[in-house]
Symmetry: C2
Subunit: 354 residues, 2 copies
Amino acid sequence: MKPIQNTNYQVFFDNSLNILTDILAEKKYSKIFILTDEQTGEHCLPVLQEKLPSLTEFDIIEVPNGEENKTIDFCIGIWRMLLDFEADRNALLINLGGGVVTDMGSFAASTFKRGIDFLQIPTTLLSQVDASVGGKTGIDMDNVKNIIGTFSQPQAVIISTDFLTTLSDRQMTSGFAEVIKHGIIADANFYKEVSELADARAVTEQHIHHSVGIKNKVVTEDPFEKGIRKTLNFGHTIGHAIESWSLTNEKNPLLHGEAIALGMICEAYLSTQLIGLAKEDLESITATFVKYFGKYQIKEGIEHQLLEIMKQDKKNIAGKINFSLPNKIGNCMFDIFADEAQIIESLNYYKNFV
Amino acid sequence: MKPIQNTNYQVFFDNSLNILTDILAEKKYSKIFILTDEQTGEHCLPVLQEKLPSLTEFDIIEVPNGEENKTIDFCIGIWRMLLDFEADRNALLINLGGGVVTDMGSFAASTFKRGIDFLQIPTTLLSQVDASVGGKTGIDMDNVKNIIGTFSQPQAVIISTDFLTTLSDRQMTSGFAEVIKHGIIADANFYKEVSELADARAVTEQHIHHSVGIKNKVVTEDPFEKGIRKTLNFGHTIGHAIESWSLTNEKNPLLHGEAIALGMICEAYLSTQLIGLAKEDLESITATFVKYFGKYQIKEGIEHQLLEIMKQDKKNIAGKINFSLPNKIGNCMFDIFADEAQIIESLNYYKNFV
């Protein structure tokens, strides 16, 4: 499948991973480090080694699974490993994993010795369609997602759909939320197509390619999120808040895509109230996400905790909570502000009507 | 005095600080934070408030004095304060202080919410001529200086020589080392002029302006230190090593400029051995730094500890210790490698001949 061209790098679709060999041969790095989590260290690294038996000279850095570990503490651990293994400015970090590995690894690389090269090999559907394209790096702090980070571009992104077989159904479905989002904000036909799939396992390499293409077009046009790139945040104001809340309050917290799916239902409701999204579109969006994600029980009485988290959202301007909202399926607006009562109403829509 | 133009910002020389009022009026920041250390909080912030009585709406973030506090822990403290005071992406951080405040503050700003604006108001001679120009941000980790950082440009740099009256003689002399360095690497006449001054207190605004101009020319030409910018590192390979060692082993550690002065003597010796610096130039450089800095007792038997620290230097390539060395006063070369025996010999030159 054709690579997708970003301003400074390419997104390759290559199940053979041979492109990695080509990049390493061309760049002649002084040292190669592979960042994994426990999951990808066990399930994806062996796949990579089997496909590329010539790749033998590297050191492994492993971090624990899970968004709750995307913290400065583990980032310090990565920096320290790079330091201990004498990584110089001509070293390479390969991030092999989901969003935690690609976000935190790229932040660590972009700040180690003021920036070393890094490659993204996203292994989850979520990171393939979302976290690995766009040059955003980040870690969480004090329950605020991606509050610390940089804008830094990888040398390349390599997508192999073979890695998706290592995922649980739940992880696969989580990533599907972002695929559907790309349809809602930018491509009504694509939305129709993916919303009719039986389940997330039916997502093809072609769907991923198309989804990455949509995101890539947006971020290439607006790399520093001054305008249209904000549309990618649809579902993320309320979604991030419920995700953060869940991370600190639930034993089995919501995955990113699960939280965003819920957020998109609530925010689609806000769209009907604020910018005239049609009732049929709200119903379609609601039905689609309920079909794949079921219904999550938002705990009673946490509305104000959620609002407090939303007030820390990076997108806010002068303290006003900021939303990116579709005015119809296939088109999205940004810098729309909702007040607290409206936001609570949208949470009630979810509770009462889903 | 005329502002110095960098690619993206200007360095203003303005004892009145009125330029700050102009910038704030133009930019309309949502919130203003001023980062100080204990020293500048006590001695420089009142000066700023006296000069600009209209500046009343800001929050203060204070960190302790000293290079030993340029750490991720205090950086986390700055991030947390910004978070707690609800800094959004349109907030401004003003770094009022020496190199610790400007380096760490700019790193914190460049990574908070993926980058907020920051202004540098360097208050020491060292930070005026060195740390505040060039877009390097950074913190130390595990005794390695500036190992974590970014390349990020301030909105502006404002230099007021009035702040220099708040410095001790020792701090003033420390900054003078970088002024002299700028002469050695790029301007023989300027070197001659400043090396004849009675002491660091004799440095004028004109000297500072000229010194910043030299550095600015170099960093504008090579912002990411791929080539000529490396010449600014003269004295810094050995200097940083002795500085790091001193920081962890001595009660009253060397200041940056003191360590760099020593490093320049040793590295000038290496220059005579490796690239033919004339004996007279070595003697002049040695005499100049001894005149202003006296002689530091390098503890016996620490050579290998120093070499271990040098092996972590960011400038190294493939494990080889890298130097920027003048081949004559007024011109500097870079990417010169010395072996361990030669480096130890240069330390012995300092011990025996200074």
